[in-house]
């Protein structure tokens, strides 16, 4: 019998391996660019001399393996290089002093905080809400409440995020001006104002994620309520509240934790579209903008951040469900 720590260490090791493989995939994808970085920076009017110069400057003449290791090492220490747009700007306007060149990491940092704030607000509304609705729907299965919840969630899963976003804008920002339709976030904002500016995009994310989370919670609880020991508890004459809180909930914890972590991972994809709709200054918007102007270092960095968050959340779900489930904690 292995101990819990061994299993968790094993999972963590697998997680790190996944991260490395993911970084490799991202690196290889960028290697598929026609020509290379140097030509991409200079664009159409590239002279051979300039291309060679930049190639040397960026170390593109080195072998692939060495470049990958160098890139990965830099990325781990938070150095994602300098974006093409900034490089171009610097080379055109002669800002040869390195102090004025803003690195990708500097661009990302404030936006990363903003995105975390948005995801945090969305999660803190969505998680309790969907758990309560999910548990209620499972308890009163096939009742009117369950059906309403079902139709509502099926509709909001089926609609694209921007549809939900514009519907909410229409009702909460245009027809009844309660919340701002554009998220104007700046550094010196106090918490209340920031929350107000973030609330509408967070509500959109909440709607989309709640639907998924609620359906999965409902399924997990229904599965559990069908088990014999719950029936036994009911036959003993326990009150429904006690059956749920004392008997069902401890065992439902593992699937519920899983559901929450998986859906927080789902938030990552949703955040991109929602940030664009509300012009929210987060990583997702920067990502889309840099994709449009083919700013490879930025795209690479954003992609790595999103993928890492995704992998880490999945890993967290894995570890948490091992800890909360005695059967997994003590495997035979």
């Amino acid at each position: 019998m292995r101990s819990v720590s061994t299993i968790i260490l094993q999972r963590l090791g697998l997680g790190v391996l996944t991260l490395i493989v993911v970084s490799l995939v991202i690196f290889c994808a960028v290697e598929m660019l026609p020509g290379d970085f140097a030509e991409a920076i200079l664009g159409q009017g590239a002279t051979p001399e300039a291309v060679t110069a930049i190639r040397e400057q960026l170390g593109l003449d080195k072998p692939v393996v060495q470049r990958y290791l160098g890139w990965l090492g830099n990325a781990v220490t938070g150095d994602f290089g300098v974006s093409f747009a900034r490089l171009n700007f610097a080379s055109n306007f002669g800002a040869s002093t390195n102090t004025t060149v803003v690195s990708v990491a500097d661009q990302l940092k404030p936006r990363f905080v903003n995105t975390l704030f948005l995801a945090g607000v969305a999660a803190s509304i969505a998680v309790p809400l969907s758990l309560i609705i999910g548990i209620l729907a499972a308890l009163y299965r096939n009742s009117v409440f369950d059906r309403v919840a079902n139709v509502f969630t099926l509709t909001s899963i089926s609609s694209p995020e921007f549809f939900v976003a514009y519907i909410l804008i229409l009702f909460l920002a245009v027809l009844n001006p309660i919340l701002p339709s554009l998220s104007n976030i700046y550094e010196t904002m106090d918490f209340g104002a920031r929350l107000k500016a973030t609330l509408l995009p967070a509500l959109v994310l909440t709607l989309v994620v709640t639907a998924h989370m609620m359906r999965m919670t409902r399924a997990a609880i229904i599965n559990l309520l069908a088990s014999p020991y719950i029936e036994m508890a009911r036959l003993k004459g326990l009150s429904p509240v006690r059956v749920i809180l004392r008997h069902a909930l401890p065992n439902a914890l593992a699937p519920i934790i899983n559901v929450i972590a998986l859906n927080l991972a789902y938030l990552i994809t949703g955040v991109v579209v929602v940030e664009v709709v509300f012009v929210y200054p987060g990583v997702g918007q920067l990502f889309v903008d840099s994709v449009k102007i083919r700013d490879i270092p930025l795209v690479q960095a954003c992609c790595l951040i999103f993928a890492a968050a995704y992998v880490l959340l999945n890993l967290l779900a894995d570890v948490m469900s091992i800890i909360s489930n005695p059967r997994l904690r003590h495997p035979k």
């Binding site: 549809f163 009844n176 990552i268 991109v272 992609c303």
Partner: protein, 368 residues
Amino acid sequence: MAIALWRALLIGGVLWLAAMMLPPLMSGGWDGLVAAASQQRLVRTIFWISVVLLIATIVSWVFRELLRRTMPEVIAKPMRHAPLTASFGLMIILLYVIVSVGAPWIAPYGEAEIFTKINVLPGGDPELGGDPSHFLGTDQIGRDILSRLIYGARNTVGIAFLTTMLSFLIGVTLGFLAATLGGWIDQGLSRGIDVLMAIPQLIFALLLMTIASEWSYRSGISLTWFMIVIIAVLDSTRVFRLARAVGLNIVVMDYIEAARVRGETLLHIVFKEILPNAFSPLLAEFGLRFCFVFLTIASLSFLGIGIQPPLADWGTMVRDLSQFINFAAYDPLTAALPLMAAGAIALLTVAVNFVVDWMLQNSSGLKE
């Protein structure tokens, strides 16, 4: 089931009404609510929503009766037990198919045809800045919006369908091969797919689209083609998982053993023996995957990196027309333009989901 569903919709409507009443009640007390209701927006909205629901119910009922009575037995028989939601879904899908195939005949103008009058307001009333020949107005460079909405059905739905087909071709072939051959091929394919699935789909698609846009810029091939291939490959990972799981259950059957002993080729085993027996779960999955692909493509287009102009598509239209939503208080029709395109996307996904729900319930034997 169907009755309960409509009852649920009704109660949902009441809840929604309560939610609508809350903001004016909170901001202005009872007087605020009266003021909001006196603008009649609330009353009007409820009225229109109930009218639309009623019409949808009646039309899908009529459609079901029509299918039951006039169609040959193959179609009529399952329709006898179909819930109204399923017939509604089928009807909407049929409608979309008709519009997308018949787009050149239905649309008043071509999708890329440019007129001299730009930003004509919808409504067709010349006194209010409209034009009778462009019922929904024209966009920022003078293309007829109604025509573009209709052509959007063909492009958006057609491209999503093509992508899903390609994704199934890749996923099913590889999945069945992994299931039949097993061993190292199975391991290699499965681990490779795991790696691809470790990166969120939209994020990976954005990365690949960046690289593809560089290629498309050099080669002159439209970015749309690259997008079809990228989304198909990324989505085929999910198809692969299902196809492999279904295939594993089939390869242990006696008839596969018999085929192997007969000395049939691998191709014959995969496509003639396994495929027909895996057809029904794959068909339901096709509906679901289509929804996902459709939404992914719409999202990409909305972000400006999906289907490229001059092709008309709904995602791009939502983005281009989105600022009109701010006129909702003055001109509802103009404000509805971006919602029409977005709603067209949502309606089709809901319809496909309804039909898939019904199919899954049929195949799993979960009758009421």
